[in-house]
């Protein structure tokens, strides 16, 4: 595999998507909003009843942290959709497929193009969130809550794995739909099981401690491998030209 080819394709896709403002805003806005919203909740939440107290803060922050697994599952969807369905719509895939690149190089390039902006946006949002949280909670807790191990597992293990899952799902759905919006919506459905995990933790069915996070990461990794096989079987020249919608 010529990784240079994948990188060339990824850079081109990033260049294209940067010029699509709606996609760019989706990628930037969601993590930015949540990274500011959560600290505001801690700072101003429950003001009428005396505000959120120090002992209540860790539990709240624990539930907020899970959103930094959900965000990476949502934001690559519009990029991946533009990357594949957009190319189908512009009818440029045939020209790309006739170049001396392998299916794997193209697939990797498309995945990297969706991965890099999404992970940068997720990490930027998480960094803002952690800095603001430390700022508003240090007085009440007497220590800096972040960084900690749970957030480390979330950002460096679960977030990239969830992001990969979303990209792979997008590639698979892209082969079955013919418009960017539908592909994006279907691809972002990855977040539904993650919402399920969040709800399960909220009603006390599971505790999202470091061990549970590692187990979930293992499950997502297995799903990643399974979906990778499906996506590579879908992303083949002949199928793209003759079977894709």
């Amino acid at each position: 595999m010529n990784l240079k080819h994948s990188w060339i394709i990824a850079l081109k896709d990033i260049k294209v998507f940067i010029r699509k403002r709606t996609v760019l805003y989706t990628v930037i806005l969601l993590p930015l909003l949540l990274s500011v919203l959560f600290p505001l909740v801690i700072e101003f939440g429950g003001k009428s009843t005396g505000g959120i107290t120090g002992p209540e803060i860790p539990a709240l922050l624990h539930s907020f942290e899970w959103f930094f697994v959900i965000i990476p599952a949502i934001i690559p969807a519009p990029i991946a959709s533009y990357s594949i369905v957009g190319e189908k719509l512009e009818k440029s895939l045939e020209r790309l497929l006739v170049t001396p690149t392998t299916d794997g190089e193209i697939l990797l390039g498309k995945s990297v193009a969706a991965f890099i902006p999404a992970i940068i946006a997720s990490y930027a949002g998480a960094s803002i969130y952690m800095a603001l949280i430390d700022g508003v909670t240090h007085g009440k807790l007497g220590y800096f809550y972040y960084p900690n191990w749970d957030m480390g597992v979330i950002l460096f293990l679960l977030a990239p794995l969830a992001l990969l899952l979303s990209i792979e799902l997008n590639i698979i759905t892209s082969s079955r739909v013919s418009d960017v919006r539908t592909a994006g919506q279907l691809g972002s459905l990855t977040f539904l099981p993650l919402i399920g995990v969040y709800l399960a933790s909220e009603i006390g069915l599971i505790t999202l401690d470091t061990n549970t996070l590692l187990i979930i990461a293992g499950v997502v990794a297995v799903l990643d491998v399974a979906l990778f096989r499906v996506s590579t079987s879908v992303f083949q020249r002949e199928q793209i030209l003759t079977k894709w919608k």
């Binding site: 080819h5 060339i8 260049k15 045939e94 690149t101």
Partner: protein
Amino acid sequence: MIETENLTKKFDGLTAVDGVTFRVDEGEVFGFLGPNGAGKTTTVRMLCCLISKTSGTAKIAGYEVGNGADSLKIRKLIGLVPDNVGLYESLTAYDNLDFFGKLYDRTESQRKESIAALLKMLELWEKKDVPVATFSKGMKQKLAIALALVHDPQILFMDEPTANLDPEAAKTVRDFILDLKKQKKTVFLNTHNLDEAQRICDRIAILNTTLRAMGTPEELERSVRGRVTVIQLEKSSDAVLTAVKKLGLGNVSAEGNKLTIDTADPEKENATILDAVFRAGGRIQSVNVVGSTLEDAYLKLVREREKL
């Protein structure tokens, strides 16, 4: 340069291309004529290693189509102008060309040189930094051709390159193909524009799932029939028609006051025909000798297939 033998492609039991055999030499402009759905694009896609063949063989510059290791080598040798322009509309003309140049492992200096040469030749240099979305259809088509040539391929496959273009833009594209021929590039041209094929192709193959005929445009014209003598009568009559038929020449048909006779050698046969018309009481207004055209050949060959 391009050789196929019994090349066949079936999709879920439906035969798109059936046992096609032909050879295209280096520096030749080879026209592939056929109606929509005849299998032209499928053939090009097989030759460009985009889809697999069901059976038969095909070779491009000695490399075997369908052999995994040879596929990448073939793709380096060929350029494709697909039936849709397939450009990145939000990128500039230069960025489009530079992207594909990089994928063909061209160095920066090679890319700069070939991009400048192509854009200048196709009169797009002034627009090199403008997003393609603002281009007219003709400009996009010219850029699509430049994209296929950015890596200086030996063989160029063009799928309906002048479809939907205005006459001026179509002429620019045709002139450009003739320039490529001067540069000894091999051009495989898919088209259903008979006039275009006749003007620029050295040889033409007519396809309608199977290969119906192949030859120079002149050979194909002659293959349908020789020439016809058209006699405009003042008034048609059964006696005249019978008299001409009795001569036992080619096919004779009457339409209104017009009599059409297939003639292998009109210079010799017309005197006999006119004599027979006079003797049967016919009064002649005009006599014309008409040669068959590529269109006649094309329609005959394509319809023969449809009747099967």
